[in-house]
């Protein structure tokens, strides 16, 4: 995953609360291998009619090139499915700005280079801005004279900027992990399952 610090792109407004991961990516698409791409499946049942045709009025259908989404509170609540993030990323979305995020979604997003930017109040002008610039160094979203700060966990911010791979990082601590394991086997032998 590549790190990034600044992104400018077109904005689409999804003025809804509780856009849960079942809506972002319906369960029936979860068996798809990632290599096939998840972009077409994003919000599948929300942006299409029963025949599968795109609803012309739906914001993302009107703005297929949007890379920044503005939404309401509790975005990405529900299931831990990372495929909801794949659907956003594969559709070209880099930033979601919302009043709040599901905890698991936010972690999944950062693990895929997608910024979950929390803006508690004043979302409406951002949604109407057309195009926005998002800066990870300053935690600022701007469009012309409009400037709004967003919040993000400090560890998540560092990870997005650096594009680090956690497994590589953790493996630097292998000695500490091994020592911890040895001590735990001593102090809590029952933490290893009895041969059933």
């Amino acid at each position: 995953m590549a790190g990034w610090t600044r992104h400018t792109g077109e904005v689409a407004l999804l003025a809804q609360d509780n856009l849960d991961t079942d809506q972002l990516l319906p369960a029936r698409f979860m068996s798809t291998p990632r290599s096939e791409g998840y972009g077409d499946r994003l919000l599948y049942d929300v942006r299409r009619d029963e025949s599968g045709a795109l609803l012309p009025g739906f914001p993302l259908n009107r703005q297929p090139n949007a890379s920044i989404l503005v939404a309401g509170r509790n975005f990405g609540s529900g299931s831990s499915r990372e495929a909801a993030v794949y659907a956003l990323v594969d559709s070209g979305i880099r930033v979601v700005i919302a009043a709040s995020f599901g905890d698991i979604f936010a972690a999944n997003a950062v693990n895929n280079g997608l910024l979950p930017a929390t803006v508690a109040e004043g979302l409406a002008p951002l949604g109407a801005a057309g195009s926005l610039t998002v800066d990870l160094q300053t935690c600022e979203i701007s469009a012309g004279a409009l400037r709004v700060r967003f919040t993000l966990d400090e560890g998540q911010r560092t990870k997005l900027i650096n594009g680090w791979d956690d497994i590589d990082l953790t493996q630097h601590h292998q000695d500490e992990i091994t020592a911890f394991r040895t001590a735990r086997r001593q102090s809590a032998p029952w933490a290893w399952p009895a041969a059933g």
Binding site: Q23, R34, S80, R81, N108, I167, T170, W192, P193
Partner: protein
């Protein structure tokens, strides 16, 4: 004790007040400690400068949906670090009824089989006698124990917290990380205590308790928090009830839910297949007995509820927070306040309901009893006690949470009660909770369901889900509409 503070919106809606207190920056590890503090420090290998902890993982469950994580592992030619602490479970795609299985389902199960075999993992396979839903079989097998850190790529992993374990759901990248390192990076959540004193009334269950607090506080209310459930009403719950309560933590936004272990916990675990035995068991129980919040420990947030005020509760909308007592009216979006009005209006349109009408009396097309929330033996007993000697007016599916629950229900005669009432008695799996195996609710159909999510399309595109307890689902089956289960129970008692 929590300072009483009535939530104005709850008052306006004519509901019972809830008491709440918050405090920023409450005490951490010095002085009296919370259960969360104890579990956290027991697993913390190190802490990074930005405050994230590297935690040791004692149990890791993977399922068919973990294919992305195994693919990530393969891409870096990595091995599973601790195969003895990693378990595979076939549940999300498990077919529950005989018949043709779609090739895509077979492929998902085969992929898990080959990953489990390649890494030497124990697999609870489709045809195994101990197969079931991951959050049912972990405890059932004694793999879930107090004081352990339990992980699964599934948001309802909080279920295992009912045993006083630290348990939370993660996404595929994190699953790959746990597979490769047996550790997880995580920032310590804020501690929240939800205290429920008193006794739940007849026909009122842990499910109602959960829906009640989520409806009063909101679906995102506990974001960033680990909830410890406490109080006499929680102590009075069976392990099944505690699992239901912890399971639903995520529907209120909390990744973690937990109950301090006690005699009820130990009695449930004693003798389970993978639980410690002999001297190890006694040593373990001694250690587990200290896993409780010390007197005077401070929580960042405290909420209290009176058990006696909770009624059987039913969702009317498309978020678990959109729930009311069964004797209440479907709320008018206008009175919910500007923040929630649009969502409520949209939910009512999707659900095909009118504001201001009683939720009771809403006709249902079908029912479902099962899932990791309410597919355990106690749940099936509660549903069967309502259905005994009665006929269901609508079709329905009963999918036990595990094959062990299935056998037990058959031995106890519960399965016969379900089939004689006209419901389908199926195999075990996630089934109609999420519909991945093809057990779907058709578009526009209304289902009374013992599951955990009433999201749009959760049980199938266009499906209308009403969440409620298993006994309430059984009552809906008998009446053909949403109805209060309590009069049915009273009539049974009168007949005795």
């Amino acid at each position: 004790m929590p300072v009483p503070l009535a939530l104005p919106s709850a008052e306006e809606e004519g509901r019972q007040p809830m008491h709440e207190r918050s405090r920023a920056g409450a005490g951490r590890v010095t002085g009296p400690r919370t259960l969360l503090d104890k579990l956290w420090s027991a697993h913390e290998i190190l802490r990074s400068p930005d405050g994230a902890s590297l935690l040791w993982v004692d149990r890791h469950f993977v399922h068919e949906g973990s294919h992305h994580a195994f693919a990530k592992l393969a891409a870096r030619a990595a091995r599973v670090a601790e195969p003895d602490l990693t378990f595979g479970v076939v549940d999300h795609y498990a077919p529950t009824r005989p018949g043709l299985v779609r090739p895509e389902i077979t492929r998902m199960i085969e992929t898990l089989r080959s990953n489990a075999a390649a890494h030497g993992l124990r697999l609870f396979d489709l045809t195994a006698p101990d197969q079931g839903i991951v959050h049912v079989i972990g405890p059932e097998q004694g793999l879930t124990l107090p004081g352990l850190l339990v992980m699964c790529g599934d948001s309802h992993t909080s279920t295992h917290g009912a045993f006083g374990a630290l348990a939370f759901g993660i996404g595929a990248t994190e699953v790959a990380h746990v597979l490769a390192t047996q550790t997880i990076w995580q920032r310590r959540p804020a501690a929240m205590r939800l205290t429920v004193e008193g006794t739940l009334g007849p026909g009122v269950t842990a499910k109602d308790l959960a829906l009640a607090w989520i409806s009063r506080l909101g679906a995102g209310a506990a974001r960033g928090h680990a909830i410890e459930y406490a109080g006499s009403a929680v102590r009075g719950l069976s392990m099944e009830g505690r699992m239901t309560l912890c399971n639903l933590s995520i529907e209120g936004g909390a990744r973690f839910g937990m109950v301090a272990p006690d005699e009820t916990t130990f009695a449930f675990l004693d003798g389970r297949a993978s639980a410690p035995r002999g001297a190890d068991w006694h040593r373990a129980v001694d250690a587990w007995s200290s896993l409780r919040t010390d007197a005077g420990a401070r929580f960042e947030r405290e909420v209290s509820l009176d058990a006696a005020e909770i009624a059987p509760t039913v969702t009317w909308g498309t978020s678990p927070e959109q729930a009311v007592p069964v004797d209440a009216l479907v709320p008018d979006p206008a009175v919910l306040g500007p923040e929630k009005a649009d969502a409520a209006a949209g939910a009512l349109a999707y659900m095909g309901l009118s504001a201001g009408r009683p939720i009771a009396g809403t006709p249902v097309d079908q029912v479902f009893i099962g899932s990791c929330t309410n597919g355990r033996i106690e749940d099936l007993r509660a549903a069967a006690s309502v259905l005994a000697g009665r006929r269901a007016r609508v079709p329905g599916l009963v999918s036990p949470g595990s094959m062990q629950v299935k056998r037990q229900a058959e031995e106890e005669g519960l399965a016969r009660i379900f089939t004689e009432a006209g419901l389908d008695w199926a195999g075990s799996g996630c089934s109609m909770c999420v519909g991945m195996n093809g057990d779907l609710v058709a578009p526009g159909q209304r289902c009374a369901s013992s599951t955990n999510r009433n999201f749009r399309g959760r049980q199938g595109p266009g499906a209308r889900t009403h969440l409620m307890s298993p006994a309430m689902v059984a009552a809906a089956a008998v009446a053909g509409e949403i109805t209060d289960v309590r009069p049915l129970l009273a009539r049974d008692r009168g007949a005795l």
